[in-house]
Each structure stands twice: as structure tokens, then as C-alpha cells.
Subunit: 219 residues, 2 copies
DNA sequence: ACACTCCTCCAAAGATCGCTAGAGTGTTGG
DNA sequence: CCAACACTCTAGCGATCTTTGGAGGAGTGT
């Protein structure tokens, strides 16, 4: 076999992983999977796409090495294979934010107006958790909380927030977190909490970043 | 504008960077650019593709934020924008090697049979460079050597190796390096050097990895 | 001004991808 | 064994991407 052919073959194989990241739908699925494993149907619902189509995209991701599947009963659970992949996807997103102004802009447009207050850094939240000087709320859907959450966090899905305001203190600061910097939940939560007189702040980034930094988790 | 639409828009923007990495040709161009900046024509020649097509691929890379261009006279020089991108591309390749067995296999098929001897690690080479106990040869094309090389390395392009064997010692070990783990030059060089009685070894990975670790360079 | 070089833009053909619907596979539970 | 369910596979259409050739613009040297 020709040298040029072998080289082409090598880059073709590498491109399998690149192609896996080359679709908005697949990136959305990866973001969901960064929160924990999920079935095809759950992913399809969460990403507002057909099951057949979702399955096809997941095959592309699987052939690209970015997800693995586990079959249990009639369900197939997909997930990120290991932390290297999870970390890589975070770096990908951060690089895109840094290099492409339109990404940053689209993120702001989607998440909504920036808070007047700065988000809490992970280190700061960790310190406040240790001193008991904070209430942390996980505003993601319950399945994602169940798959893993910040140690000591309370699960208050964004849908239930208004109904459960009484559970949250008004004298101690509340910090809300969700999936990551491009997730609307924690921003919405902070806005609503403030409207009801709580001292609310948003956590910098989301749960995957917390976990991958080796900070304490539960679940 | 609808929330769902804004989210779709965000992921569409992110996918621009993904799409940039979704083609074997573009990955090959990125590998070349990791060695230093180059004109469109030089890239086209090196990657064995037409100038028009190369230009089109470079536009995709530029819109994806993975390259920038600089115009000088009639030439346009493309390059990786910063070390974050260079580092990211290394991580991409390493992840692909780790997760996709076919990548690793295609790499072996292309580079040729593994040496009987282990490659030299960067730390080991650094130590031997400091003690003067080694001759380092850069077997990449001269332009790439000129754009940056390991401090103290000798430029001996692979094409000229046989003719310039006399310049290389037989009593001191010779370490050859090139573009990276999927580059054939250093493997070929080691094979030929050994046939002529030199104590030759290959450096682990290539110049970009050396530079990005902050090790001493010249150029 | 002129020819020349390098590169990008445009247009068209061919290949690939994305999505949908319907059939098929495998598992669970009655 | 059958029905129900979750998922994958196949086929087909339209949309997008890749590649090529040719025209056009920008810069250089005579």
C-alpha cells in the first residue's frame, strides 16, 4: 500500500472523532451526557429531537469514541466513556468561547442578561461550604442530581423553585448551579430568588467542572 | 426570539469549531501548521492537494477559529493563532489515539514497524543535552527547522541524511525528532542511521510537544 | 503601465450528511 | 407464545460539503 494512502487513512481515522463534534445536535447530546448517563429516549426528549435521529447521532458519537453504551433490559444507557473525554469536551467549549466571539455572544443571548453580581468561584464556594455560610441548590432536573451533585447541595429543580421558596433561607446566601456556563437554569433561579428577597448568586460554570476538579461530590 | 432557537443557535456556533476538525484534509493542514506558519501554496504542496481546495479548507479553519492569516506581499501566511489552539490539537490527537484503536493502528501502519529500542523521553533528552552526551538532529524540512527547533539541534532534512552521514558522530548517541508521533521522518532516520552503524534513537513525539512543555528552543 | 504571481471568489458536479418513516431485533411481562 | 416497548437498521429525499476549473482582485517587479 502506498505511503500517501496510509497517511490519508490515518487522518481519515482521526477525522472520525472530529466529525463526531461537527454537529450542533451531537454537541447538545454530549452536553447532556456530561451530566450523567441517559437512555436514548431521555436524550431525544431533552434535546427535542426524534428517537430515530437521536439514535443515529449517538452511533456517530460512538464510532468517534466520544460515548459508550450499556444495555440494561430494554433500555440502552449512553454516557461519556471516561473523565478524559469529559475534560476534553470542557476544553473544547472553552476554546470555542475564547476563539469565536459569536459563541460567547450566542451564549449570552441564550442564558440571558448577566447578573449584576459576579458568579461565585468554585474555591470560594468550597470555603463557604466548609464554614457553613451558604445554602447550595442544584436546579437541574432530578435525574441529573441523582447521577451526581455537589456535596451538601439541595435538589430544587427549576420548575419547583417558586413552590419551594420557603425551604430556602433568606438570612444566609444561596448559591445555585446547573449544567455549566451555557445552561439557563441557574441564571433563571438567581433572578427569581432575588425577586423574592433572597441573597442569591450563581456558581461559576456547573457540576461537570466541579467534579473534574476533584471537589467533593455526593450522589 | 424563541428560547429553543437561541439554544440551537449557540450549539450551531459551537459546531463551527467542530466542523473545522471534521475533515482529514483539514487535520493534515493543522498538523503542518503546528510546525509553524506557511503560505497557502506551501500547504497545498505539502498536503498534495490543489491550491483552490486548500484555500477553501483554510477558510473553514479560519471561521472555526483554529487558524489565523497574515498577508505579506502577495503571500498569505496561515498559522495557529496561539498556544491554546496548538495544545488543544495535541490533546485531540492524544484522545483519538487513546479512544480509537483504529487511529493507533493506522498510525503504526503509516509510521512503519516500531523500533526495537524505546523512544527517548523529553526529560531524558533534556538531561543528555545538558551533559553534552548526545547529538540531536531535526529531520524535518528546513523551513520547519527555521520556524523553531530544539535548542542545539542540527538541521538534517531526511532527504539529505544519507549524504550527510559523515557529520554525525558514531561514538555519541544520535537522537532524531520530527513533527510528532505520526510523522515518519524520525523513524526513517533512525532506521537508516542504524544501518550505518550509528547509535540512533527517536525522540518521543515531536517538536510541538517539546515547545509547548516550555523546554528550550532555538530558531 | 504591463505582465506575473498568489490567493480568493464563483459556479457546477459529485459525494456525503441529516432527517423521517417504516421495518426489524431483542427484551420484558403477561 | 404473544403483546408491548426500546432501540437500531434501511431506504430515500433534500441539504450541505468537497473538489475542480475559471474569473477576478491585490501586490510585486520591470
Amino acid at each position: 500500500m502506498d505511503t500517501r494512502e496510509l497517511k490519508e487513512r490515518l487522518y481519515e481515522e482521526l477525522a472520525r472523532m472530529g466529525k463526531a463534534m461537527a454537529s450542533s445536535k451531537r454537541l447538545e447530546l454530549l452536553d447532556l451526557l456530561a451530566q450523567g448517563e441517559r437512555t436514548v429516549e431521555a436524550l431525544a426528549t431533552a434535546a427535542a429531537m426524534g428517537v430515530t435521529n437521536t439514535s443515529a447521532h449517538l452511533q456517530v458519537l460512538r464510532r468517534g469514541g466520544l460515548v459508550t453504551a450499556r444495555k440494561q433490559g430494554t433500555h440502552v444507557y449512553y454516557r461519556l466513556p471516561d473523565d478524559d473525554v469529559a475534560q476534553f469536551m470542557l476544553r473544547f467549549r472553552n476554546l470555542a468561547r475564547a476563539r469565536l466571539a459569536d459563541v460567547e455572544q450566542a451564549g449570552r443571548d441564550y442564558v440571558g442578561p448577566a447578573d449584576h453580581v459576579e458568579p461565585v468561584t468554585r474555591d470560594e464556594l468550597l470555603a463557604r461550604l466548609r464554614s457553613g455560610d451558604v445554602t447550595v441548590v442544584d436546579v437541574r432536573p432530578p435525574e441529573e442530581y441523582a447521577a451526581g451533585h455537589i456535596a451538601g447541595a439541595l435538589s430544587v429543580p427549576i420548575d419547583e423553585l417558586e413552590a419551594r421558596l420557603a425551604e430556602l433561607p433568606t438570612d444566609v446566601g444561596v448559591v445555585a448551579y446547573c449544567r455549566g456556563p451555557f445552561c439557563v437554569y441557574s441564571s433563571q433561579a438567581v433572578r427569581r430568588l432575588r425577586e423574592h428577597g433572597h441573597q442569591a448568586q450563581r456558581l461559576q460554570d456547573g457540576f461537570p467542572e466541579w467534579r473534574l476538579e476533584g471537589l467533593p461530590t455526593g450522589g
